[in-house]
Amino acid sequence: MKKTYIYTIKIIALLLLISITEVISQTDTVNQKLNMDAVYDRPFLKLDKLPLAIGGYLEANSQFSQTDGVNEGISFQARRLTLFFSSTIADRIKFLSEIEFEDGTKEINIEFAAVDIELFPLLNIRSGIVMNPIGAFNQNHDGPKWEFVDRPLSATTIIPSTLSNVGVGLFGKYYLSNWIFAYEAYLTNGFDDKIIDNEENRTSLVAGKKNIDKFDDNFGTLPTYSGKLAIRNRKIGELGISFLNGIYNKWQIDGVRVDNQRYLSILALDFNTTLYNRIDIIGEYSKLWINIPETYSKQYGNQQKGFYLDIIANIYKDKVLSWDNAKLNIGVRVEYVDYNIGEFTETNTEIGDEIWAIVPTISFRPVSTTVVRFNYRYQSQVDFLYNPASKSGVIQLGISSYF
């Protein structure tokens, strides 16, 4: 299988080379938006008399996959349809909501529905269903913004994007010549104990965020804190550091204490930059710590970590058919997750439950809000016991577009 790796890496290197050697200096203004601005940084349609602006996006793809020779065939997936509604209620008061239909109508989620009140640029109040500011992907997750069909593993399984909760918070920004400093700080409801008791058989914040009661009940009864500091230099790029901390277990029922308070914390680092105006580099690292009773099963790990690194190069930009500014991009994602960091006490050997993947991509953007993506995914996964890895190859062709 090594050959396949080398093969794909060679092709990517070649294509990158072509693009880099062709760098022409361009004079576009470099993006001044932060990840936290992504909620409003979307195309909206405003009808004349309606007080509401409407937008949304769709993601659909076809996929052919094979794991250890077992062919899962071709499937067509309508992954999500998301609708946004926004309105300016009054001066300095804004409302925005995001409603997502996942896998058809299997899951309908309110991902975001909040009112923002601006006091000063440095002090805004947000309340409602908010996206926890943890990592970059969680805040900036719209399909059409990405060159890959799949969302990054670490940003969907370690940080379970889209992670939103009922809560309140503050955010603000400060500008200083080429620099922007920003902060966000929220108090929200949190996770439940399905995190360490689920059919995935591993610590899973995804399983722990599913409880339908979370919009009116806080399982851990104390608020979950999340906060982020971001810094952006117009010439260099953006760097974010974020943190989340909360209780995930029912430690108290009707005022009676039934367990210790068990905490979980996530730390995330994210950055993005653009080189030569045409190569985007985006990355995020996340780590989870969680307090699990010693007498429970190590099957559920008390630490997880993961990262993804996307490198995207624009190799063609010109008029194609009637699109004046069509773009062809190539790129690659490298990603890794370790769902159970630690050793078996029985053998002093490392616990597995890890995934590596490399995903070369070619994407075509007829307009900036629509992307057609062609991905190949090569994935190697080891189980909990560190048995020989299972290998998967996935070929995906998908489209994602704002409307």
Partner: protein, 396 residues
Amino acid sequence: MKFKLITIFISVFVIFISCDKLLPPAPEESEILDGPMENLSYEQRLQFLRGDDAFNEVFTKESGLGPIFVANSCASCHSGDGKGHPFTTLTRFGQDDTTGNKYLNQGGNQLQHRALPGYKPETLPEGASHSDFIAPAVTGLGFLAYLTDESIIEMSDPNDANGDGISGVVNWIEIPDYINPSTSAISQNGKYIGRFGKKASAYNLLHQTVGAYNQDMGIASFFNPIDVYSNLEIEPEVSNQTIYDLDFYLHTLKAPIQRNQNNPEVIKGKVIFGQINCGSCHKETLRTGYSPIEALSNKEFHPYTDLLLHDMGSELDDNYTEGSALTSEWRTPALWGLGLSADSQGGQYYLMHDGRARSIEEAILFHGGEAERSKNLYLELNKEDKNSLIKFLKSL
């Protein structure tokens, strides 16, 4: 620029069409343990698949796990239907003779050393004699299940009548009420022949399955509705249908397939295996009796076991026993699939009942008692012959 665009498109397309290496190939059928046996009907395959789901079901608090347990799914101990890892090794304790368990009020005979948050797991009572059991592979068991009692008794030699120093005996066990002994079953004073488990203390695969649900995972069933924690009868946490499906699955998992059997070294190793009497206990070829599952009826198979108990000497004597077995007696484990053991044990061999042997050679060196003579013959082999023998064992 346009030219480049088109070239890129075409070259990428060609790469994908031409390179089927991009889709990882399947391992050879003989390299993996799981999968159904051949010649099952569609209906049987569907039941097999339902059983496969049950085997892989992960139990949670909601679906009845525990509250005290050893592991939370069959597959977490028998990964890929193969042998287990020390992480899920279980401990039995408190029985050093045939008079029963001395610690019934302290959780005997199996330790559940893990617990749901908020519950207290069991700890080994001080002074209790105990034995650790690492999970065996569960493949090919349908063949062993349809071996007749008569043929097991035929292989036994309780008084060593043939004078080879090897005296296999059967484990006479009491069977629970929910088990209907087969029509060809042989009984002695109301006791039946056990054939599954390290000490052959389970009568059949249903017996083993019900016990595993209850003792390994804390899942109560209609057949054994006693909760491991409270010792009270509770509602079943798994349906009878699921148990029957799982029982069928265990019967119809394919037998491990030998690899490299035509390799000259492997052929030579097999001859040595016979010459140094390994085959007196690890019997190569057996034959099933009648089975309602056509694919298992009157079939020859090659498990390398006699399903009998053998005294393996003091080093393997943990002072713990089940049924009529002595504390030093262990049931001969089947050797088929041996070469694939490490693939489910995290890349490392853990052999013998408690996984104490880290290689096949170490396993042989732990043989004592009735197998002492055979082990000594092994030690007398030259290096080359030893290697051939190991190579043969790895081909199984």
